[in-house]
Assembly symmetry: C2
Homo-oligomer: 473 residues x 2
């Protein structure tokens, strides 16, 4: 159903509004929805340039019960920013100012449209960095990272984005501007609104300013790549290393199929086999830590292990860093379906990797496996011929089977991509009916008209408070 | 107003119920409310022994709109567990089982009544510990730590309690049992109910099980005590050390008055002067880190600096660890009033310490200052003669002046003790009217009958949803 968004023209905005088809089409999808032809075109696009703009649009839209779906770089993977019920796409990428750097407090204030790598570039001269940065730092905005509670390769050592957000300015559904959190490094004051907004996928408010915490760049960085005879051995080496308490900053698994894809795409000459990429950050004793780590690799019959300094490492890591693109480009006849990001307690990591590969084999589908192994986080995507309906169905079966098993083992359906459209059906399985009801109550409390990003997160057939019409795409 | 709590006798509970005066009186206050004669006696006390007990009591109380205030060790400092509107005091200390230890995942499952030190003792054999443990580990329960989002001396390195809670089982106001969070180390699945409950001071739900994350005990522990010529020098040394990125695990300030009190109480022979206590945890290079740290101390004209190994350290730290008791016992004619815990960005730490001391001097009150300096966290309590109404009033003025300045500098009214009764008047000053309204909306969504710990957190005169009657104490 389309909505009358002409009210946008009457608002005194600093930013821009467009009803043009190309603007609307370009806000119809994210990375995965685009591939899957699942985009939904909004009725209008607005690019606010200030908190006042965001507030004015939301207040007016809320009065009219017109949906508003926040949008930034569009790199989400679960349709998180797709305007499922049309209405307004609110694109925050023109709010892209670095507002203040306070190196003396390890803090930076940014607007939501600032790209991740801009943060690191801005603070590098002060010897600082933003530790939980996702791999897509140069493609994704800080605002997107926050509302999806993203994480990255270094999360195994430093934690996820939520752990490094101190304070947010947020515009709620009715246009009210609130501050959540504190610039103090800890607080027990009032309810934790900040962590309600983090990971809420634009369904509870629009982030208009963030104070991020930073860390000092480590004095020693060293890492490498180790190859194993079997994928089980590689996965078990990761699990054992993390369980040993070794202070690793990145530890990523790449299975033989993913390695083959990387070789096809980059010609990087990765060895054939299962491998892990790793990196250590320390101010003291990085070699001692790596020595200890290598005893664990040896206990799992590591085949080759190349340790490298910072220069060579960039080369080694390139294959891992751009693996998502390699998977996309592997075979012109095959498309990756629904990239997954289940995360399990680390002791279950070898089990979930094996389960994913076995399920894919059983259903005769190629399924590269990689991801932030040290967190117990697995990425995977079955490759299907889009003209083969049976293969599509089998891919869904495999996908569901992996998520259900992860939840069964105490894990989560999504470690870092969010629920969006794509994982709504698992919300209740993971959290239980009571918790989902409590989440709905929070949504109802903060957005009673269901204006912000409606249709996301909750299983749609049970959506309360209206908007049960299916989208006409 | 008293409430008819006879319904408790009809519930099929495993746990116990008492209407006796001594049981009720012993649940009328916490540490501070006791001192200040501010206890409010509940109408009944229930000691649940299971999640089912908690659920049954809450469901029945919610149906009858009878207040239920969770209670544990009673060590809170803001009246957090005082049943302001009488009703039921729900004492969870009989739910004190360690349910499971999973050293392979660095996890422990406990009931809320488990004491903090029991956690550390239980996991020590596995080489693990609970890093954010408050100083009151042997006096406080895990449940209390969670709902007040406590922190401790090691928070400067490891973070606060919230950072180490993975999953909670929580009973909501209507008796619904929900799980919040995940046993995976990260999740982006649904709204973050876990961090809504953490720090909610028993106003949104009762924690009945917690999965805590643990860390490996460091291989090297070393620390010491440094004395400075002035308090400014000591505070600036702390601020500079933290801003240098030095990897300190504890760094505590003690001002000359607090040192004098410790000497009186323990006869520990602390030097006269302003001092810091510090401790470093590392697997490698602890001596290098301490060497670097000492260059910072020297830049601030440190007078004496004693570095010690683990054995001698226990002795050194005893004075700091039990300082709260020393303050209590200092002078039989004086009582400490309203211990504070403001927290500011670290660059403001010397300023807030100086501000606190100056304000106290201006108002002619002794005010010892100490606390978790590395977090920017200051503890203080004006000492007053309880028969001197003017001194009492001046103490309030000093207290307010410290909190207001901390908020002005981007800090928080409470780093670790919570809002409770005592800091309700600062909630809006710190967070703004819009954020407080959003917090009220969360409360209304999860506890529409205002059954759980009513009257806490929100400024009482504006409390929505009833219960505007003042307590008859």
């Amino acid at each position: 159903m389309s909505h009358d968004c002409s009210f946008l023209e009457d608002l005194p905005l600093d930013g821009d509004v467009s009803f043009g088809e190309s603007a609307r089409e370009s806000h119809a999808a994210d990375w995965v929805a685009q591939e899957a032809g699942m985009g939904v075109t909004p009725d209008a696009v607005v690019w606010p340039k200030s908190t006042a703009d965001v507030s004015a649009v939301l207040e007016a839209a809320n009065d009219r019960e017109v949906p508003v779906t926040p949008y930034a770089a569009g790199t989400s993977l679960e349709g998180n920013a797709v305007p499922l019920f049309r209405g307004v796409s609110m694109d925050v990428t023109k709010m892209d100012a670095v507002l203040e750097v306070r190196p003396e407090d390890f803090q930076i204030d940014v607007e939501p449209g600032v790209m991740g790598d801009v943060v690191d570039e801005t603070v590098a001269d002060h010897g600082l960095f933003f530790p939980p940065m996702p791999s897509s730092a140069n493609l994704s905005t800080v605002g997107g990272m926050i509302v999806n509670d993203a994480s990255g390769q270094q999360t195994v050592k430093y934690g996820e984005v939520a752990d490094w957000v101190l304070e947010l300015e947020v515009v709620l559904a009715d246009g009210t501007v609130v501050e959540a959190g504190s610039k103090a490094v800890k607080t027990s004051s009032g309810y934790n609104l900040k962590d309600v907004i983090v990971g809420s996928e634009g369904t509870l408010g629009v982030v208009t300013r963030a104070t991020l915490e930073l860390a000092g760049l480590p004095e020693q960085i060293k890492g490498g790549r180790a190859v194993f005879g079997t994928m089980d051995a590689a996965a078990e080496a990761v699990s054992d290393a993390v369980r040993s308490g070794v202070d690793v900053a990145k530890i990523e698994l790449v299975d033989p199929l993913a390695a083959e894809m990387a070789n096809d795409y980059f010609d990087t000459g990765l060895p054939e086999g299962s491998m892990i990429f790793y990196e250590f950050h320390a101010d003291h004793g990085v070699d001692d830590e790596i020595d200890f780590f290598e005893t664990i690799l040896e206990a799992h019959d590591v085949t080759t292990d190349e340790v490298a300094g910072e220069d060579r490492m960039a080369e080694i890591w390139r294959a891992r860093d751009e693996l998502a693109f390699a998977v996309q480009q592997y075979d012109p006849d095959l498309e990756p379906r629904h990239p997954g990001d289940v995360t399990v307690p680390i002791s279950r990591y070898p089990d979930i990797v094996r389960h994913a590969k076995d399920l894919a084999d059983d259903h005769d589908l190629p399924l590269p496996v990689f991801g932030h192994a040290g967190d117990g986080n697995v990425h995977y995507a079955a490759l299907v011929d889009p003209d083969d309906a049976d293969a599509e169905a089998r891919a869904e079966t495999v996908y569901d089977g992996i998520v259900e098993q992860a939840i069964e083992w105490g894990g989560t359906a999504t470690g870092e991509h969010g629920i969006g459209m794509g994982k709504r059906r698992f919300l209740e399985l993971e959290h239980g009916a009571g918790a989902v009801e409590a989440m709905r109550a929070l949504k109802g409390a903060l957005d009673p008209n269901d204006v912000l990003n409606p249709g996301k997160m909750f299983p749609e057939t049970e959506q309360e408070g209206g908007r049960v019409d299916l989208p006409d795409r």
